[in-house]
Point group: C2
Chain length 513, copies 2
């Protein structure tokens, strides 16, 4: 169990819009069970579920009781005594999010609650975000008073391009303050993501090297083995770029690339994250064509199971041009990152599940190693985010023997080897911060818009036509993604499991004998 080094959150009523939904079942409630067990939340935590489905308090409790996650999968928490305690503080309101009735009921419920503190969690289709906030404001549910905070947590996707994100921000901010809005990026609940900042600023050995003088390029990868499965309808209007880049991958990019904040308070950190996202160079249409690759998986097999082509997934349009894979080259126009490309890739139905940041350093100027100089691979710092969390430095040492020859080795640290970190679902941190009012791990309006602005050239280009490149399930994406780096004389870092896969090119490993 991760150590708990914080006091419990204050009493609060968490109003969940979409209480019968998947997110509530798999992540929000399991996180609150953990919070209850760990003392992060006390008896002052009440959950008011709101949904379109008919039912009463007992319906929702039964629904959550009956939820049977896969062992070890999302939501598979030890319910035990904490659940028994929490369950009695769960209630339910049925109603239409677009009608006033439900909000009047919420007002009444909160008035009866032991605390005026309330957080509204919008676990609903994004089309409802603006409307719900308007209604909350209409009913003065967003009105903060001493001893009664009012906060709104909004799940992704926050907009589907730059104009829609701007419009949504404008709609929200017309009614509530930025300080009340918690735009969720669940990547920020992960230890290793938050560790990027710590590792950089707590270690002179890392931060002193963290610039264009020393770093050749950065790779950010989020490879998934799962395919689109039954989510065709949702996915086809989203695609890999919208689903992953402006939120998750840019969260990683910002953590890697930001300047040191003056302090670790929320605004200082969010200032720096926004600053670096705003510095991502806006590609021209021609540059976007050159520096973006989209792919869609074909029919095939993955780990022995048959995978239908994306185009054949139920809910996907027959003429869909939606991508299930993207690879991008981006430049960050700051003094620190001048000339250092950031290569991003993410996709579904890929060979391995692996989220990682690879910081590749420049080659050594080593006339000393003579003919073998070409064989001294560059150093890499690899930040492993999932499935395992850890940190690795790839360096070269003297190969044992009489000659002076190098051999690559890794200095490695795995979180799991030293800490028991496996039992949290990731939302504990986010909900805790929502309850205590710490916005550090949530996305600010300007950062959201900067993220959309950076991907907008690709969205616009791809909207003009063309098709994603095909790639086989179980591969590492389309050939064009390899070509994107090859053009710069670089190659994608081999992914964790890839090294064990027969017949795959192992980049780096053959360089030094």
């Amino acid at each position: 169990m991760a150590e708990i080094n914080v006091p419990p959150a204050p009493p609060v009523t968490l109003v969940i819009f979409g209480a019968m939904g998947d997110l509530t079942r798999r992540l929000l409630v399991p996180a609150m069970i953990n919070m209850t067990r760990l003392g992060l939340a006390g008896d002052g935590l009440h959950i008011l579920g709101v949904g379109i489905d008919p039912g009463d308090d007992q319906t929702l409790r039964n629904e959550l009781d009956a939820f049977a996650p896969e062992p070890g999968g999302e939501g598979a928490v030890e319910k035990g005594e904490a659940w028994e305690r929490l369950k009695n503080r769960i209630s339910y309101l049925q109603g239409d999010f677009l009608q006033d009735d439900i909000y009047r009921s919420i007002v009444a419920r909160i008035a009866q609650a032991p605390t005026g503190n309330a957080a509204f969690y919008l676990a609903v289709q994004p089309g409802f975000f603006g409307a719900i906030v308007d209604k909350l404001a209409d009913h003065e549910l967003t009105l903060e008073q001493p001893g009664a905070f009012r906060r709104i947590a909004i799940e992704k996707p926050f907009g589907r391009d730059l104009p829609s994100a701007r419009a949504l921000n404008a709609q929200l901010l017309a009614r509530v303050a930025e300080s009340q809005i918690y735009r969720v990026d669940h990547f920020l609940g992960k230890e290793t993501v938050r560790n990027i900042m710590t590792a950089r600023f707590a270690n002179l050995m890392i931060e002193r090297l963290w610039n264009a003088d020393c770093i050749d390029h950065v790779q950010i990868t989020a490879a998934e083995t799962v395919d689109v499965g039954t989510r065709g309808k949702f996915y086809d209007v989203t695609g890999a770029l919208r689903d992953m880049v402006p939120n998750h991958l840019f969260t990683l990019l910002a953590m890697v690339a930001m300047e040191p904040p003056n302090s670790f308070d929320a605004e200082s950190i969010r200032d720096e994250k926004a600053k670096v996202l705003k510095a991502i160079r806006r590609w021209t249409p021609q540059q976007a064509r050159q520096d973006g690759v989209r792919g869609a998986y074909t029919a095939g097999t993955l780990d022995g199971r048959p995978v239908p082509a994306y185009a054949a997934v139920p809910g996907v349009a027959a003429d869909s041009t939606t991508e299930t894979y993207i690879a991008l080259k981006l430049m960050v126009d700051t003094w620190r990152w001048h000339g250092v490309p950031f290569y991003l890739r993410t996709g579904k139905a890929m060979a391995v599940r692996d989220t990682e940041v690879v910081v590749q350093f420049k080659p050594v100027p080593s006339p000393q190693f003579g003919d073998s100089a070409a064989g001294v691979p560059p150093n890499r710092l690899v930040i492993q985010i999932q499935p395992d969390e850890g940190l690795r430095m790839d360096i070269s040492i003297k190969r044992p023997g009489l000659a002076i020859e190098t051999t690559p080795v890794s200095l490695e640290f795995r979180y799991a080897s030293q800490f028991d970190v496996a039992h949290l679902v990731g939302y504990e941190t986010l909900l805790y911060d929502l309850f205590i009012g710490d916005q550090t791990l949530f996305q600010r309006a300007d950062a959201i818009e900067a993220g959309w602005a950076a991907v907008q050239p690709f969205l616009e280009l791809w909207a003009q036509g063309g098709m994603p490149e095909p790639y086989a399930p179980g591969s590492l994406g389309p050939d064009a993604a390899d070509a994107l780096l090859a053009r710069d004389g670089r190659a994608w870092h081999s992914l964790a499991a890839e090294e064990n896969a027969p017949g795959r090119r192992i980049e780096g490993a053959t360089q030094a004998k």
Copy 2:
């Protein structure tokens, strides 16, 4: 077994002065057995032992045959078939090193040998070095000709202070060329010592940090658990400083502190090593008093065995002022190391056996960590030389949990985990290089003299009187050694086994909770 990535050495007659001695038995012959087994030396290797003890070829062979080292200790090699092959190429000459007869016999033996190549290994008391070389030269044994190299390997100690080292160099160089002289420092036969250079120049992540901008100070430790034992007579005229510092510890210091050589050829590397040793600041008598600590162990117990006080060791003078421990603070006056202290310590009868170099980086400028800033320990690169060989980086990461707090962890690589390196005695590399004529791992005259020059102020100061500080066997040396660093606001790095010893201060470990 370490990988053999070199061709076998050319044929050679190795003439060992002191063939019946300890070094021959424990190190030279075991190394040649290994070399024979590994193909580093072929049937062209002949050993001609020379000694004062009566006997013939068979006497020496029997002597070596009968040698029974401790299992796993020095000389404990697998003799096997390689020894049977090598044994027949061992012969012996009895005689007086100071008389001509023996040299005439050597001339005759070499004339009969299948090769004119000869190396003379002086495994004798240092008082004989000059005289033997004179005699070798008198008999033209040092005269090189095409197809007949002549080289002289000299064991430490090479001089006992600056004037005597200068005199010995002058005596040798009057008769033979520097290129023929191989001054042995067996530390240079160790993988990790040679790896320091490789690790620095093959890794941008290391070499970019390797300067006074990033490094706070360097610690070089060679702690031994063995006491003086039966070697009182030898040790009392030597002491810890002469025994360890100008050779072994300065070899480590030079590897750590030298500038990048233009190439890895012998002269380029030796130029840089000499350059940095010459840059060690010459202390005034007053500075030497302040920056040097000597100690001698008292009576006590170590690992349960009783240890008599050094003063009570047979062969040690009743009024001995010889030190069994020293700690020094040195400054290296180069641009790279401006203001970076090098702290050196070595001693006998200490708590642990541990030879290591600790490079401690500057603290992070971390206002971000607020009150816990004092708790972010500085980064360290630890080069472990014995008993285990390895490399470790001590860094800080985010402690798992909801607050942003750091915790120290280590990224580690151990040679033994990846390579089978345990079966060499260390002299294989040195003898191989002697036979192929590579002087990289041997000390050049100017480096030897620079080393003595650096310790000369301490020798002169201590010759004036005073007594070493007492320290208990099984401790880490006298309190004055701790005070030496405490004065600079620093502390000795905790040694490997120390962390497990109850009641000992664990430096660093309590800083970050």
